[in-house]
Symmetry: C2
């Protein structure tokens, strides 16, 4: 188990949501979710930010376990990791489920 995974698991879903709470990072993640590995310059291509800014965002994503990176020659390629997104989805599902239960209880109360 990696360090990032341990931290993510021990501190709950909040850090994952925090990592998702930025336009740029969402865009990076959307690109990477096709499973391909991309270098930092490739990911910085059509973004209006500096390469270093993109690098920082990628490090945030990596700290949250949403991506991982490997060094290949002179470039480091980033790739999508599915785990945290699955966790986040599961969490939102529980919240939505409790809400749905509340709704149906209310409906029963009104109708019955």
């Amino acid at each position: 188990m990696s360090n990032a995974s341990v931290r993510a698991a021990s501190s709950g879903p909040a850090p994952v949501f925090a990592a998702l709470g930025d336009r740029t990072r969402l865009a990076l993640l959307a690109k990477l979710s096709d499973g391909r590995l991309r270098s930092i310059t490739a990911l910085s291509a059509d973004v209006r930010l500096t390469r270093q800014a993109v690098t920082k965002h990628l490090h945030v994503l990596r700290a949250a376990g949403l991506v991982s990176s490997v060094r290949i020659g002179r470039e480091s390629r980033f790739t999508y990791r599915d785990g945290p997104i699955a966790q986040a989805r599961a969490y939102l599902d529980t919240v939505a489920a409790q809400w749905d239960d509340a709704l149906s209880r209310l409906r029963t109360l009104v109708e019955g």
Copy 2:
């Protein structure tokens, strides 16, 4: 359509995720997702923070459209709103779907 909803729709899911990216706010939202209305003091009860700190978090949640509030007498009651959570779930679903597609394409490529 409310102002918060408009802003959330025009700026994408990032602000919603940002609002979710905090332990305290997640806890508040988890409580409220049972559909009941709660006053600020009620929500500040078992939290180790000041009432004002909780108030600020509630305002962040309200700005993201995740909760709404009504003034009843001397207290203002907060309640859960389902819309943004549904949007967030939908967004994560698209990301996960693209990832699944990438996986199955890879599988086909390897097997075929």
